[in-house]
Symmetry: C2
């Protein structure tokens, strides 16, 4: 049992190494042979599927439909929106040729120089440009609006320093792209979607987040306003977990997308875009997991319950199998997902450690004596506590326990964040406090110069200008100039 | 009403133009600004989502898990399997650089020559090579086998002539990649998956298929055997609709993937791969649709029932809305998906034509007189027939009707195929018959030379060597040499 666990670096020793160890050992993902690209292994992908399914339902409930746009973007499209190209041209994969051929000098295949593209194609880093070039043909009149579309896709950003899930060259995400007749409606949509993300983070990932605006320097390239949800990881660093952008008429103007309003006037369309990615899996891990392995919220765990039989011989196993079949059936009827691991080449202790590492919310163990006494051992992953309970009504018991675990890990994360969030009023204090990590609520004069100075001095950035909470004005901790409200500073991923 | 329909070229006039018209006008997909890449529009994508959901359930029921592997494949990997590189190097997108920069001479962005990759990356045309390079680290012992993994992904093959859904440069698909300890088990898996595809085609797409082997010249590049399902389109041409490959130990040897068997012996692993793609949407359209538009099988229709109100004033509409809410609730309780179109800027006649074009299996129309008589008009898309029925128990009636439509369109396609399938024994007859289209069952001597001659003479290829059916030996219609069984010839997409 101890062997597996020992190999996980404790968080207190090296948080970053703990994360890396855990992602690998819990079979979530690994680095591939292609620089910066990961392989998402079945256990990690199963969590992504649960996230997708839930988010997709939430998108559809709010009126969106899925579609699919090309992977490739003509180079010239990227340049059409001035800020956008600045943000994305620097880190993209460029397709220049469309054929390989046998090397005439032997030695495998080489790029065929005769197959050079007239215009290079960029592998999409995000799809605003290709989508707005398409919307131009879809939108003629106010009757075609709003256009509410989402895409599930892979995107590529050529990152220099990568980390599994948190920052990879290729990642999976969804990107919503909507078109509206009025500014007000587009802003409403932007806000609706940041609320969807926040609900998803809190209710499904059990991860508390702060909703707010990004400062101008941290905005999406091409946006008028970027809304963000910011979460706090256990090492005191912030993680941007989802963004929703009000794009104004920037892309409509860049791609000349106009519509006739009800009076027959031609107007430019208003736009939003919004996305979350496989980065959320990294956020999930760093929010809840511990030195024994993953801790998964029941609502996103690939399986919520694992059952391990403890037996000395085949007769005992047969009897246990029968009992387990009955329990499994009842649990499944209540919508609880169950894995029964009766593999005989691994000892129960090994299995216990394995499922602890994998973060299965509830582990049931059942042996010959339990059969006699009509009991079962129930172990909670979140608290690492065990108790022996009656198997009568066990399915209701487990169902309630899963809800309790979901609530408990949210509360734990919420309390952690509360303990790591504090108001700081002087820049000297700030420099001391930022070393301890956490969210610092400070007054800022609203200028990019002050923001830049703070970043250079301390590596802290403005995570967001919160939508909710204290709006009392004050004075900037650096410049002494007026501040309209406290903003959230932190070091971040 | 007639306006929309008139714009659809009749099948008898130009089948290919009919298909193109229909895909565009039914809002399924369109060509993008990027050569050969399509935009899948929400209505088309909704069908793909239904296909995905069903196939994914079938894959999971047969023990497979999803995972995700990188989009990019190092150029050298493609070369590791000799036949594979011959098959795929000729038509791939090659990434050579990872950055754009501002053109110092003005004029947008250019490829940054300083950002040239040491080794070029190929955008995956299929993932055997990147996956087997990964499996090498996952497989040590017989305990790690079988490895049963599927991936939902986009792939790119640089096709010169493209057609929406049927052949596009980028397409969406799933690719299963499994690893086994024995040859027998791998062959069993290959067969299991072609059966899954065949069940899906027949039971969900209502599309009859012939299961069989590909001849050597039509095999997947790197396979020992390729199993296929072949469907017959309404123009008499065949469409390869799904393939399952027994890869032997070819990729295991190319990537040195060995395992220790139960006796501690090192052995190469046995492999399969299998896939279906968005091409299935093209197959669906060309199997069932007619000159009035799409005909969709109820099991894959984005919505199965559309309800259109017919009213003269708001009072009537209010009463109809109430009735429709009641009917919709009952239908949804039975798992029937419903769209209620009460938009007031379109006339009922326009809506009827629109939903006919979109292939909605059942259309309900309800007016003021229906309210009085407690009736509703039910129109079937497959037969274009209408009848007025009581709204008492309408939900059961519709549910049964949907099943009947699903069966009916399968039967229609089955009968069509039967009428287009015939045995041909002389090559002279063959040359006449092939011009009429359909499946020709003929004796062939099993040599690639004869196959090639037939292809050059008639443009017909061997679609498959059927698994089921008549296995009587005979003599080759071309060479007169012995033949073990009749094979299926056709012209194809």
């Amino acid at each position: 049992m101890a062997k597996v666990l020992k190999e996980l670096t404790p968080r207190s020793e090296d948080f970053s190494q703990w994360y890396q160890d855990l992602v690998i050992k819990a079979d979530m993902a690994e680095n591939s042979a292609v620089r910066g690209c990961m392989v998402i292994k079945p256990y990690g992908y199963a969590i992504w599927e649960k996230m997708q399914r839930q988010l997709d339902d939430m998108f559809k409930e709010t009126g969106h439909m899925n579609a699919y746009f090309p992977l490739f973007i003509p180079k010239s499209y990227l340049s059409k929106e001035a800020e956008h190209v600045e943000g994305f041209a620097k880190e993209c994969a460029v397709v220049t040729h469309y054929r390989l051929k046998n090397d005439p000098n032997g030695g495998g295949v080489i790029v065929d120089p005769a197959a050079k593209l007239e215009e290079e194609l960029v592998v999409r880093p995000t799809s605003e440009t290709i989508i707005w070039s398409t919307y131009k043909n879809w939108i003629q009149s106010y009757r075609d609006l709003p256009l509410l579309i989402n895409q599930w896709a892979n995107v590529v950003r050529w990152e220099m320093r990568t980390r599994l899930f948190l920052r990879t060259t290729e990642f999976l995400w969804q990107e919503g792209h909507t078109a509206h007749a009025t500014k007000e409606e587009a802003i409403e949509e932007t806000e609706q979607m940041i609320n969807v993300y926040s609900d998803f983070a809190e209710q499904y990932m059990a991860m508390p987040v702060i909703k707010g605006f990004k400062s101008a320097s941290e905005r999406f390239a091409g946006a008028i306003d970027t809304y963000t949800i910011e979460a706090l990881m256990q090492d005191g660093k912030a993680l941007q977990s989802g963004t929703s952008h009000f794009l104004g008429q920037n892309f409509a103007k860049a791609f000349d997308v106009q519509f006739s309003d009800q009076n027959g006037q031609r107007e430019y369309v208003w736009a939003t875009s919004w996305g979350v990615s496989t980065r959320l899996i990294g956020a999930l891990i760093m929010t809840h997991s511990d030195d024994n392995g993953l801790v998964l919220p029941p609502k996103l765990a690939p399986y919520q319950v694992v059952i391990v039989p403890i037996y000395k011989n085949k007769e005992q196993l047969d009897l246990i199998n029968e009992k387990v079949a009955d329990i499994t059936k009842k649990l499944k009827a209540l919508g609880v997902s169950v894995k029964y691991d009766k593999s005989d080449n691994k000892k129960p202790g090994w299995k216990f450690a394995e499922y602890e590492l994998k973060g299965v919310p509830v582990r049931l163990a059942i042996g010959a004596r339990d059969l006699e006494s009509n009991t079962i051992e129930v172990a909670r992953r979140d608290t690492l506590t065990k108790e022996t309970v009656s198997t009568d009504g066990i399915e209701e018991y487990i169902k309630n326990l899963l809800d309790e675990i979901q609530d408990n890990i949210y509360k734990k994360a919420f309390d952690f964040r509360a303990s790591q969030t504090r108001e700081v009023d002087s820049y000297d204090d700030f420099k001391v406090e930022i070393e301890k990590g956490g969210f610092l609520l400070c007054h800022w004069d609203g200028t990019p110069e002050t923001e830049e100075q703070i970043k250079n001095d301390t590596k802290a950035t403005i995570r967001c200008i919160p939508l909710d909470g204290d709006k009392t004005p004050g004075v900037c901790m650096v410049s002494g100039k007026p501040s309209t409200q406290r903003v959230v500073f932190a070091r971040s991923y």
